[in-house]
């Protein structure tokens, strides 16, 4: 008797709950567009936020809704965009150019000294909060690696000189490090750019730059005069080379009194 009773009660409970769940599954069925799942699987899955949404799943939902450009996934690039276009049945709208991060400071501790010793939290934002940062140059890299720590693609590492180095093979140009750097020394550029660039971020006047850094741009316009194509402009005491106009002739390199104009860093194919 006991046997049947226990069978009946546990079996009954099981049946009841099974029925309840079956009913609930039908009654509360959520109709999900199967394309959301498919698109989410195609995306890189780093949840980096470069598209403007909190995660890949939210981006996928908005693609299906049609409220966002399909090419907004920067890390995925052309390949991902093409496959999403295939799922959505639209013509490819991929951005042709790959984007990468570029570090605009070469002022390592050896050439750009500190104002004071800092023993706080190893984080650039925390260091900035303390009297505006320990580096004498108010624009230079603090070198505590906040940018490297936040890269979702493991493409940014701190080099031996204490400055971040971009791994161009891995970098997707998502721009997370740009937002993370409290001194704005990183920018996103196209990977197929060419010519020279000025790896400095200092908007200080020449006299100040000379005092705090051996490799900072002093904005004396020597390079502007040397450039035959008018590709270099100086704004706020900082020379900027327009890579669209630059033909890589190299005349600005010897003209620079601080010898800091470099070839842009490119991947080796």
């Amino acid at each position: 008797m006991d046997l049947f009773l226990s069978l009946a009660i546990i079996g009954g409970l099981g049946l009841l709950f099974g029925g309840l769940l079956a009913f609930a599954a039908q009654r509360f069925a959520v109709e999900e567009d199967p394309r959301v799942e498919t698109i989410c699987d195609l995306l890189p899955g780093a949840n980096c936020g470069a598209c403007g949404f909190p995660g890949c799943i939210n981006f996928a939902e908005n693609i299906v809704k049609g409220s966002v450009n399909i090419n907004s996934c920067i890390p995925g690039g052309k390949a991902v965009c093409d496959s999403i276009c295939e799922v959505m049945g639209v013509a490819s709208a991929a951005l042709e150019t790959k984007l990468v991060a570029e570090v605009c400071c070469i002022g390592s501790a050896a050439v750009a000294p500190d104002r004071f010793e800092y023993h706080g939290v190893k984080d650039c934002k925390a260091a900035m909060a303390y009297s505006g940062g320990f580096k004498a140059c108010a624009y230079g890299c603090l070198g505590l690696g906040t940018c490297a720590g936040c890269c979702p693609f493991d493409a940014l590492h701190m080099g031996a000189d204490g400055l971040p180095v971009v791994d161009l093979e891995r970098c997707t140009g998502c721009g997370i490090c740009v937002k993370a750097c409290p001194r704005n020394i990183i920018r996103v550029v196209t990977a197929d750019r060419h010519g020279k660039y000025v790896p400095c971020n200092s908007k200080d006047r020449g006299k100040v730059v000379r005092e705090v850094c051996e490799v900072g741009c002093i904005g004396d316009k020597a390079c502007v005069k040397a450039c035959p194509r008018g590709a270099i402009t100086v704004t706020d005491n900082l020379a900027v080379i327009d890579s669209a106009k630059c033909d890589d002739c190299g005349k600005c390199v010897p003209a620079c009194r601080r010898n800091i104009i470099k070839d842009v860093i490119k991947t080796h194919h």
Partner: protein, 192 residues
């Protein structure tokens, strides 16, 4: 007065995590950030109260009258699992935001031993339905408090200069031990 004593004992003096050592897994697993620990706490409060009510009803109406109290464990596990699944389905439809916020924690509660623990403790203490509900809510609040305090400690530990030897799991367990020691201080203030 009786109910106040239950609340005090369940939250502080006999905290489910720090004094009874149930639910250590989510206590260590979901206490990295205050935000997620609060989410987990809310899910536990919700599920624990529901589970305590349903298990109490099943125990009183089915198991005790038919002399089947030896089936308590399997019956309660069945109820808790089905209940969590049900809540998951309903929540997904009615409140997708909360569903996504709870994320993996909701299904994890199925195997959370605090839920089964509270259901069984209720039956053993012969609580009536009011006491059952109060005890379940108070226990879940105690769980949430333990989780949030731990998350606060761990958020600070991340910025602290911890000796290399202790970094990671070791310092977490040591702080959990000290926290438990602190909660032991409440024992004896109220006796049931």
């Amino acid at each position: 007065m009786e109910l106040l004593a239950i609340i005090f004992v369940a939250i502080l003096a006999n905290n489910i995590v720090l004094n009874q050592f149930l639910g250590i897994c989510p206590f260590l697993g979901v206490s990295k950030r205050i935000e997620t620990s609060l989410g987990m706490g809310m899910a536990v409060i919700f599920v624990m109260t529901l589970a305590a009510i349903v298990t109490w009803i099943v125990d009183i109406l089915l198991l005790v009258p038919f002399g089947l109290t030896y089936l308590r464990t399997i019956a309660f596990i069945l109820i808790i699992a089905a209940l969590v699944q049900f809540v998951e389905i309903v929540l997904k439809k009615t409140n997708p935001t909360l569903f996504r916020a709870l994320g993996i924690y909701l299904p994890l509660i199925t195997t959370n031993c605090t839920i089964l623990g509270v259901a069984i403790l209720n039956v053993q203490a012969a609580h009536n339905i009011i006491e059952t509900i109060v005890y379940a809510i108070a226990t879940a609040i105690g769980f949430t408090i333990a989780l949030v305090i731990m998350a606060g400690i761990r958020e600070r530990l991340e910025l602290a200069n911890v000796p290399g030897l202790l970094r990671g799991a070791a310092v977490t367990l040591v702080s959990a031990g000290i926290l438990s020691l602190a909660f032991m201080g409440f024992i004896g203030i109220v006796t049931l």
